[in-house]
Symmetry: D2
Subunit: 342 residues, 4 copies
């Protein structure tokens, strides 16, 4: 029996990526797609690479009959998402890809996003969508908030280490490199090809990037005390990919062993042999994460390096993995596509 899903915000990259993945999913059927500004357009016009699929045209959200939908993927912009989800039927399963329901604490939300949350009750209900660490909660959840793509990469490196008490919590540096699709399809001068290609730079350095809210929440919760990491994202001239180079204080061999053990049974997390460096190109277009551990020349210091595809494991792949869990479908269904290299 196929399950009926709707995708809100299907004219953006995470919406398109969901469709790409669901295209070969045997149990899901896309019955509605929304796109406010492009409502009425065929998907072949909005995303010609999906031309071969038999998809519904884009419509406005209010035109969707949610009674016939089993699960909604909400790929709307931040802030819009909470307003829309607040109006959806309260028994509808929802996987939200925005930032709106990632933070549990209303004060933290307001601090990082600059205004009060408009659906505090739902904020409390939502489950954080980092699948490998919230699997049971996600299975039972009605509303799942997928993580930020950068936040996912950093947490794959650090959660098991904080949990195991292996590293100095005050000395964590996350130097992150991200491809451009993470910035979305918005019309911004700095996202033009001529501006972006053939160069690279840091942005939002110094503790102002919003994904820090997720790091703070999750790491502090695991540690049982406040943890603040140092985090610098960089924009790299490639479409897909996040590489988190995480500098920690701890014994590299122990760190490697702990991560290898933590992810031993995980389908999508591959811990590389000790000393090897992962690359974003080797996870491109896939739901896999590659994790490497390298010892520094100075005793007691190590680098944990994580590579994911921001649109897949960092967003839409993660969303589908969560949806599978929520729907009682085998978790990896539709997600075993091998990375697309070269």
């Amino acid at each position: 029996m196929t399950t009926s899903v709707a995708i809100l915000g299907a004219s953006g990259y995470t919406g398109a990526e969901l469709i790409r993945l669901i295209a070969t999913h045997p149990d899901l059927r896309i019955t509605a797609l929304s796109g406010e500004r492009k409502a009425g357009m065929a998907m072949a016009e909005v995303f010609p690479h999906l031309r071969h699929l038999n998809l519904p045209d884009l419509m406005k959200i209010e035109e969707i009959d949610f009674a016939s939908v089993d699960l909604v993927f909400c790929a709307l912009p931040h802030a819009t998402s909470q307003a829309v989800i607040d109006k959806l039927p309260r028994d509808l399963k929802i996987v939200d890809l925005s930032a709106d329901f990632r933070l549990r604490d209303p004060a933290a939300y307001e601090k990082w996003y600059g205004k009060p949350h408009a659906a505090v009750e739902l904020q409390q209900e939502a489950v954080y969508g980092l699948t490998e660490f919230y699997r049971d909660e996600i299975r039972r959840a009605r509303l799942v908030a997928c993580t930020g793509c950068n936040a996912a990469a950093g947490q794959y490196a650090l959660r098991p280490l904080i949990e195991a008490g292996l590293i100095d919590l005050d000395e964590i540096v996350i130097d992150l490199k991200a491809g451009v699709s993470g910035a979305g399809r918005a019309l911004k001068e700095n996202l033009l090809h001529a501006e972006l290609s053939e160069g690279f730079h840091a942005y939002s350095a110094g503790g102002i990037h919003r994904h820090l809210g997720e790091f703070d929440q999750e790491f502090s919760k695991i540690a049982g005390r406040p943890v603040e990491v140092q985090f610098t994202p960089h924009l790299i001239p490639a479409n897909r990919g996040i590489l988190a180079t995480v500098y920690v204080r701890g014994e590299a061999r122990d760190i490697h062993a702990t991560l290898a053990k933590a992810y031993a049974d995980e389908t999508f997390i591959e811990v590389l042999p000790f000393g090897e460096h992962p690359s974003t190109r080797h996870v491109r277009g896939s739901n896999f994460a590659h994790v490497g551990v390298v010892a520094d020349r100075r005793q007691g210091r190590a680098m944990v390096i994580v590579a994911i595809d921001n649109l897949t494991k960092g967003s839409s792949g993660q969303a589908l993995q969560n949806a599978n869990l929520m729907l009682g479908i085998a978790e990896e269904t539709g997600l075993m596509l091998a990375p697309c290299f070269p």
Copy 2:
């Protein structure tokens, strides 16, 4: 029941692309992989993006037990291929991705490849692998020679038009743009990133590119008289993709109608609405071909533009499509992956 396949030349890009596609194919199991220079290595070392798959290590060809293999994909370099295939059991099904068995005429082979064919008998036996046009022969074939990637793109534009007598056979210009993966993984100075990126150029212009041998053979066969096209390939700084801009003399509307009709039942060939331009990015990583037709301002002239992924529809996807036919499996099995955009 799964079918056992071997891939010879699995350390190159077309070999890796075959593995990527077969990874989600329900009926095929890879039981042997060869790679002469890298024999003994694990595929995770050779192609880290395939790390999650449970694959055999690379071995030398002579180490493979072909008795337990149902079909061989041969992704070896030109010239090597004919020597190797000549020694394989004569009842083994073979899909060859090299240029060695594309040309039927020994003289034509020698003209384009500079020396006599070493397995003329097999050359006669082989079936040309352009699936949509040789489907019945491929089903019955033991040895199928997949087309050149450029040759595939050009033929999708032109075969139905020549067949229908719609265009002037002496006035065909194929201006072709190709991404770099088509040149393979060979160590050549002009394939280095620093040499290639941020620039573009024509190469092998003037009638010396070997894929002309295929054009000549096929177009002349359809037309029933010699046909020689003008063909200029260009190297473009992108990994995947071929765009063939084909200039023809004929009525654009008739051309569009003829192509639309010719491909109406084809799963993988999408003819765009009249006047639309296809793009390689919208077929990337997929087995789809997008075909556009645009009228020139001067009556009786038109452009047919074809976009494919050189590694997929132009090579390994085509190979798998042919293998499916040869094995009695539904033709599109393992090939319905949506293009990976952005």
Copy 3:
């Protein structure tokens, strides 16, 4: 003695390229820069790569004191340019980089640009800025209209051949590939890095690209009868560069000899040895044009291939070359920068 120049539209790419070139010009001094939407901003904010230069802030055009300006480079958008230039002092030397004054015939202008010209008198006065062919007129001109970047590339291939009567005027195909900076700094979805990189496509095929107006005007003028070429531009994922692959009917050796002779004394036009292919990467960031001629396998057919940098020889370099002539400065001053490779 230094000459005072102003650049109108200094917040776009051609404006920035002019500044880059003038930065090492010994005789010119930039005394005013305009940028309507960014008026008041420092150039270091608008173009951080020009940070080291001592430049005036952007201002509005009406704030510029043209009495102290010897020559104006007008790098404004099409249509805006004619309105602005119409109001400038009639004794001011002007090099216009827009399309507004390229066409002499008001009817042709209206045909290609969709509305009547607003300064027909100036349209008559303007001199076409293809330096090598209008040198004397440019020296005497007050208003010079730089050519379209695509139009420049095509004309370098064809003008001497049409002049010499060497080719069939009815059988000219210009297949052109262009980098993305030619599209400017406008916020358009199809110019985003994630949309554009790793793919390529034709656009405005079939005789609707506006640079055809220039081809028609110039080629018909030389030939003394109407000439209409077939022209398909393609967008390539690289920042700079135009490659025009021009298919002609004529004897390749004669064509090569004619081009070699025509450009023998030209500083910026390099005709390659017969049979060699030029590449855009070898002219990047420079005012040089590389011209190659290749014979087709069929007698009487040839390809002429021209590579230029669209922002330099195709626009701002050409503009500076023209300004030098208009000011009585040695033509190549400030323009001898070698291409930036890799």
Copy 4:
């Protein structure tokens, strides 16, 4: 009066970059170019972008008449360089771009480069070529060893801070991102376009990159005690550019003020306003370095970010700057080219 220079190793990228820069230098004349494997070839074949220059053909080193040469740029590979320079006349001025003479201590050389130095006496004589910090020694030097490109970027961030005692010497992390031209023109699989583009990764992490030898030597010398930094280089899919993101413990405002003061009179080092992020694209093709300082959210932590072009300020531009000093020419001669953006 022009000075005669020779370039040894002119078939590599740093050799070509030297020629590009010298092309507009009024006082230098290139009288000999060497390239062992390509001896006898014209530069137009080896580097077509230099076609317009009147350059000598490549020859073998032993064919060069050094009596008529005033200064030699040695752009040979590591290890080769010391053997060659050891045989050159001892009164010849030499700017070496290799790693051979960067380290003063023979033991350090052997540690980082794996074998004993073959010209220890010259190793002692050589002056370290980081112009801004060794200006007086360079003026008087006969043999100058240009710095590693990564080492230059890191030192621009850190030297004034270590000198001023502003940062914790045991807590320095240099996360460095580098474009691909720094790896040279060698035929390596991982440098192919198809391998490299559209992905990014760390390499030589953990304290094994050879540029650490320079960091150790220089920082320890300034500090007067051993200093070991943590250093992870990453390979980014762009041709040119190095971005060093340096994590330090110290007061960000003090750090900014100290750097601004240290570089106030330097032509090529631009310290950005506090809190701004530099980008490699804004120094591309130029000898400029952009330095930014950002405060972390946690008091007492800061990021210093440096952008240079690895081939220019990181190598050949630095080399020319040093040569100017050695020859008594104004330091910035031939180096004021503005960055090439976009």
